[in-house]
C-alpha cells in the first residue's frame, strides 16, 4: 500500500483551498464531513462514479482540506478542520455556514 501524502498546514494556499471548494461536488463532500466524523469513501453519497469520487477526494486531500487514513480495505476520510482554521481562521466555518443555507428568495 502506497503512503498517503498530506501537505503540511503552512503549505496550504488560499487559492488552492478556494479552488478545491469551488466545485459543487467537493463542497458537498466537505459539508458531509463537517460533523468531524471519519467517513469511508463508500459512505459518502456523491452523485458521481467511484473513480470520480476518488479523484475529488484526492483534490481535497492535495489542497489540505481532508486527511485519509487507511484501515483494512477502507479509507477513512476526515476534515482537517483544525489545521485549516489555524492557517485561515474563520474561512472554513464561514464557507460551511453558507454552503448549508439555501439561497434567499428574490423579492
Amino acid at each position: 500500500m502506497r503512503a498517503i501524502s498530506h501537505p503540511i498546514t503552512e503549505q496550504l494556499s488560499l487559492s488552492g483551498v478556494l479552488h478545491a471548494l469551488s466545485d459543487p461536488v467537493r463542497l458537498a463532500i466537505v459539508r458531509e464531513l463537517a460533523d468531524g466524523i471519519e467517513t469511508s469513501c463508500g459512505e459518502l453519497r456523491a452523485p458521481v462514479s467511484k473513480s470520480t469520487l476518488s479523484h475529488h477526494l484526492k483534490v481535497l486531500r492535495d489542497a489540505g482540506l481532508t486527511q485519509t487514513r487507511a484501515e483494512g480495505v477502507h479509507r477513512f476520510v476526515s476534515l482537517r478542520a483544525v489545521d485549516i482554521d489555524t492557517r485561515f481562521p474563520g474561512l472554513l466555518g464561514c464557507v460551511l455556514e453558507h454552503a448549508s443555507r439555501r439561497a434567499p428568495r428574490p423579492i
Copy 2:
C-alpha cells in the same frame, strides 16, 4: 455602447463566488479593489495582457463580485462588498484578510 449586466444579489452562488476568487490574478484584483475605491481597468496592475484582464473582470462581474460603470472612455470597477456581505456574511472579509497575509514560515 452595450449595457453592462450584473447579477442581482440573490442570484450569487457560493460555488461561483469561490471559483471567481480561486484564481490568483482575480484574487489580486479583488484585493486591489478592497479599499472600496472605484478603479479604472487600466489602473489595475495585473501581470496579464489587456484582453486577459478584461476577461478576468468579466468573470468577477458575472460572479457578482464587482460592478462596472462606464464613464467616457473609462470603465470604473468597484467591489460589491455590501451585496456580497448581504448574501454571504463574513465571507469576503475573511478571504480578503487571508489574501493580504503572507504564509507563515514553516518551523
